[in-house]
């Protein structure tokens, strides 16, 4: 075990428990495991639009989780990265006629730039102050984009973001076909998950955890904590920007709510519900969140009430989240 320093290393003897062995094996090959699961996912979910949503928001929550779960820093401004990713991609396609692939890249890069600026302004705010500052900064972006209605469509959002037919030479499909759309998005998400896992497993990933565990100690050891936080914020922004870019293509519109702090709150909730600081947690959380929303909205218009209560219950009694609790139980 000692050559893969997992953050949850401990010397409890878990002998013979097949479940524990399976969980550990899954954790070791986490990229393959999650990709395999997501690959067959559409077969489990009743309709593809929901599956695509879970894919996209799972990516969003995963990107957010780098800063929140792994580094231990609570940001309430990640909607800015998702939203700018969406808007940049949408604007590139609608106003400039740029094809879908460069448009997605533009979306990701734009989100990264916003993260650099926001991070630069917020990073000296420590602790929970940071949550407040990031919320306010992100809401500033919301107002800016809202005002630039010639570009963004203002309150009505940006419409007409359609890629329609995708022609890759060796294969052709239409994004109107839900299954094709899912696997199209899946390719991007799969690449993102691979990079994400790689980053977490790198020396930089170790520094994130050190900061979460004890920021002062990390500083005394010689880590430039401020710079590391900024980098993590930007990298996280890139992943969330990709989620936003994909969302623009998925919906064919970019609603102004993509930038509102309610969306930032969703990332927080999905992460906590799923399990902060775990690899699968964000996807589990996105799945739980969106499935619950889907079911409950068919029965009542007051989904936020149930969401709020469920979230409060998790905060009070199940802070490890679903997957985090599973891992914890399995390690005993």
């Amino acid at each position: 075990m000692s050559d893969i320093p997992m953050s949850n290393g401990d010397d409890t003897q878990v002998s013979g428990r097949k479940l524990a062995g399976l969980a550990k094996s899954v954790a070791r090959h986490r990229v393959v495991a999650v990709l395999a699961f997501l690959f067959v996912f559409p077969l489990i979910i009743p309709y593809e639009a929901l599956a695509v949503n879970i894919l996209i928001f799972g990516l969003f929550a995963m990107g957010f989780n780098m800063v929140f779960g792994y580094m231990g820093v609570l940001s309430f401004g990640h909607a800015a990265f998702f939203g700018i990713g969406s808007y940049a991609t949408g604007i590139a396609m609608v106003h400039f006629g740029i094809p879908w692939l460069p448009a997605i890249i533009i979306g990701v890069v734009a989100a990264g730039v916003i993260a650099m600026i926001m991070g630069g302004m917020a990073i000296r705010s420590r602790g929970i102050y940071f949550a407040m500052v990031t919320l306010a900064l992100a809401q500033c972006v919301y107002y800016l984009v809202y005002q630039m209605s010639d570009w963004s469509g203002g309150e009505d959002g940006l419409t007409g973001v359609g890629a329609g037919d995708i022609n890759l030479g060796f294969v052709q499909f239409s994004l109107f076909d839900p299954t094709a759309k899912y696997y199209f998005m899946f390719v991007f998400v799969a690449i993102a998950i691979f990079f994400f896992s790689r980053i977490l497993n790198s020396p930089f990933g170790a520094v994130l955890e050190a900061i979460r565990e004890n920021e002062n100690r990390a500083q005394a050891c010689g880590y430039n904590v401020l710079l590391t936080k900024w980098y993590a914020f930007v990298i996280s922004g890139l992943f969330c920007g990709l989620a936003g870019a994909l969302n623009a293509l998925h919906l064919s519109v970019v609603p102004i709510e993509s930038l509102h702090y309610h969306l930032s709150g969703q990332a927080v909730m999905m992460s906590l519900l799923g399990g902060m600081g775990t690899f699968f947690g964000p996807f589990v959380g996105a799945m739980a969140f969106l499935l619950l929303e889907d079911i409950i909205t068919t029965m009542t218009t007051h989904w936020p009430l149930f969401l709020g209560i469920i979230f409060i219950i998790f905060v009070l009694f199940f802070p490890k989240g679903i997957w985090g609790s599973v891992l914890h139980w399995v390690k005993r």
């Binding site: 050559d3 290393g9 790198s202 930089f204 990933g205 955890e209 990390a218 005394a220 050891c221 990298i235």
Partner: protein, 250 residues
């Protein structure tokens, strides 16, 4: 300036709001020796420690290290200069294993922003971490989470973390705080061993402990410099005795 000094505080004053914790303190620390900063509670020992170790810059005055003015250097640069510290209240990485604790401390010297190399390829760091764990007597606990270690073991881990950057100057803030007598003896032996290889500055309020192992003592009182010298000199110093007798001996 003495050429055999490793660090010097020059006219250091530290104010917190209206309260002056250190008042115009000038002291010099000889290289290669074990110097202890002692004094009754409230003397300003911890504040001086924090200023010397880079926790915050002094309100006035300078800190000179190996001839260079390092006043105002940010905390994270200290380890890279060869100055390491351990904290008075145990400050490790709780939910990481002891091995990972030390490995990460070692990594700080070599690789902070590498986002690509898988950690399990960093074999030299793990080897070095194992060596340090063995030095402080924690090798059988290397897989244990730091939060699951006994108090004395956590203090030992603190030391290992400080040693990770291969410091020329080691600053220890009450390393035996909260330890049992047996643990204290082990720790003192370790510190004596470490002092043979590098300069150590120690903050302690247990007089008996430091008298035995220090080469040099600096006594503070009410935030001001009171006396300095060898243990014998300090033991027979009238002012020091008056200050300490009033407080009771430890």
């Amino acid at each position: 300036m003495q050429t055999n000094e490793i660090m010097r505080a020059e006219n250091v004053t530290m104010r917190f709001g209206g309260f002056t914790a250190l008042n115009d303190v000038s002291v010099s620390f000889p290289v290669g020796q074990l110097t202890a900063i002692i004094g009754p509670n409230g003397a300003g020992k911890s504040t001086l420690f924090n200023v010397l170790s880079g926790a915050f810059p002094p309100s006035e005055g300078r800190i000179i290290f190996e001839g260079t003015d390092i006043t105002g250097t940010p905390q994270h640069a200290f380890a890279h200069k060869g100055i390491a510290k351990s904290f008075q209240i145990t400050n490790v990485f709780p939910e990481l294993s002891a091995l990972e604790n030390v490995r990460i401390a070692i990594q700080a010297m070599e690789s902070q922003f590498d986002i690509w190399t898988p950690r399990n390829k960093l074999k030299e760091m793990v080897e070095r971490a194992n060596e340090l764990l063995e030095l402080v007597g924690l090798n059988k606990h290397r897989e244990r989470l730091a939060s699951n270690l006994a108090h004395g073991e956590q203090r030992a881990l603190e030391i290992a973390l400080a040693l990770a950057c291969n410091p020329r100057l080691l600053l220890l803030d009450e390393p035996t705080a909260g330890m049992s007598p047996e643990e204290t003896v082990v720790m003192m032996d370790l510190i004596t061993h470490l002092a043979s290889e590098r300069t150590v500055i120690l903050v302690e309020h247990k007089m008996k402990l430091v008298m035995g192992i220090s080469n040099h003592l600096i006594v503070l009182h009410h935030g001001e410099f009171l006396a300095e010298g060898t243990p014998d000199e300090i033991r027979t110093n009238d002012e020091v005795r008056r200050v300490y007798l009033g407080q009771g001996d430890h």
